[in-house]
């Protein structure tokens, strides 16, 4: 749910990074945070366990500049990926404008990817959203690892609606901004339609 503030001439959108445990959602946000100019970003918040696993969410506010006189602000969130945190995951999707699904390219994580997309679909539905229509981008992360599944096969298995898909190595930043731009663009195009 986009928040349009005519008084302060601001538009605020919410993007959620979804995906199975340890797929690199937080690493995506950390890369974006590290590469963004200080004046365009707020503080990054990570609610994590002592072992650095996301417990509730990571949050990063980003200022993308202005469009038609309105400051365009994106609030990026990650969800906790571990299966048993489903109640928390559901909460983060509240009011979402666009979703990035970060898939782990390693062969042994394909089942977890599939289960997580199903979980995303279900949790979106509970908030009244439909994965088939919401702005959405798919990222194949960890392309630098040895046991990765070929891109074509991942596409066949994980692509939901011919959404834009990106190969990525979030630790070095490959594909990270492309994924973000893709979903942000889709959100703005949606706004234009309304």
């Amino acid at each position: 749910m986009t928040f349009i503030n005519y008084a302060s001439k601001e538009i605020n959108c919410k993007i959620v990074f979804y995906g199975p445990g340890l797929c690199g959602k937080t690493t995506n946000l950390q890369y974006i945070y590290n590469k963004t100019a200080p004046e365009s970003k707020g503080k990054m918040i990570s609610l994590a366990t002592e072992a650095d696993r996301t417990l509730f969410f990571d949050f990063l506010p980003l200022d993308l500049g202005s469009i038609r006189g309105f400051t365009t602000r994106f609030h990026l969130y990650t969800v906790p990926g571990q299966v048993f945190y489903d109640a928390s995951r559901k909460l983060i999707l509240k009011g979402v404008d666009g979703v990035v699904f970060v898939a782990d390219s390693q062969e042994e994580r394909m089942e977890a990817n599939i289960e997580s997309i199903r979980n995303l679909e279900q949790n979106l539905k509970e908030h009244g959203f439909d994965l088939a229509t919401i702005p959405y981008a798919l990222q194949f992360n960890k392309r630098d690892l040895p046991s990765v599944v070929p891109v074509e096969e991942m596409y066949r298995t994980l692509n939901y609606k011919r959404e834009p898909t990106f190969e990525a190595v979030a630790t070095t930043g490959v594909g990270v901004f492309d994924t973000l731009k893709s979903v942000a663009k889709q959100i703005l195009i949606e706004l234009k339609k309304r």
Binding site: I11, K14, K43, P61, I67, F70, L91, I92, D130, I189
Partner: protein, 164 residues
């Protein structure tokens, strides 16, 4: 996107700010914030410059969402008030008009009792403003208020945003 956008016009923004200013004064609070349940700040009053307001809004919304989840787990509709007591500063959080969160930060110059009393009164006023906002938002969606500034944006505008 299926949920309606949340649109705030200048007039209601001024009314909200005025109500928050009055609440801050009457409750003798340090700062007062009104936050959307999705974590966006709507309006504020008082000594807000000493706080990271974006983080405050996001964490408060997370806090309220988690507490809402807890309420449902035990069969309650909601916990409408949260209170965090610190050594010097305290935070009083309440739900207004079902969709917004009112945050009052105060210290020992005030008291929980006073804050609760003033929050109750202010909530009634805020709810009325929200009602007007929702009606305006609906009319806006039907096109009877000025058109969305985004109906005119071009692909070039969007590309420019990303420096392409």
């Amino acid at each position: 996107m299926c949920a309606a956008d949340f649109v705030l016009y200048e007039e209601e923004f001024k009314h909200l700010e005025e109500a928050l200013r009055r609440l801050r004064q009457e409750a003798n609070a340090k700062a007062v914030f009104l936050i959307d349940k999705n974590g966006q700040q709507i309006a504020s009053a008082g000594e807000t410059e000493q706080f990271d307001t974006t983080s405050l809004a996001s964490l408060t919304a997370g806090n309220v969402a988690a507490t809402d989840g807890l309420a449902k787990l035990i069969g309650e509709r909601e916990f409408s008030v949260l209170f965090h007591e610190g050594q010097q500063d305290h935070i009083h959080i309440s739900i207004v008009a079902k969709r917004a969160i009112l945050v009052v930060i105060f210290d020992d110059r005030s008291s929980l009792g006073l804050v609760r009393l003033r929050v109750k009164r202010a909530s009634v006023e805020l709810e009325k403003i929200f009602e007007v906002m929702m009606q305006k938002g609906e009319r806006g969606a039907q096109g009877s208020i000025h058109a969305s500034p985004f109906s005119e944006i071009t692909d070039d505008d969007i590309d420019a945003l990303f420096g392409e």
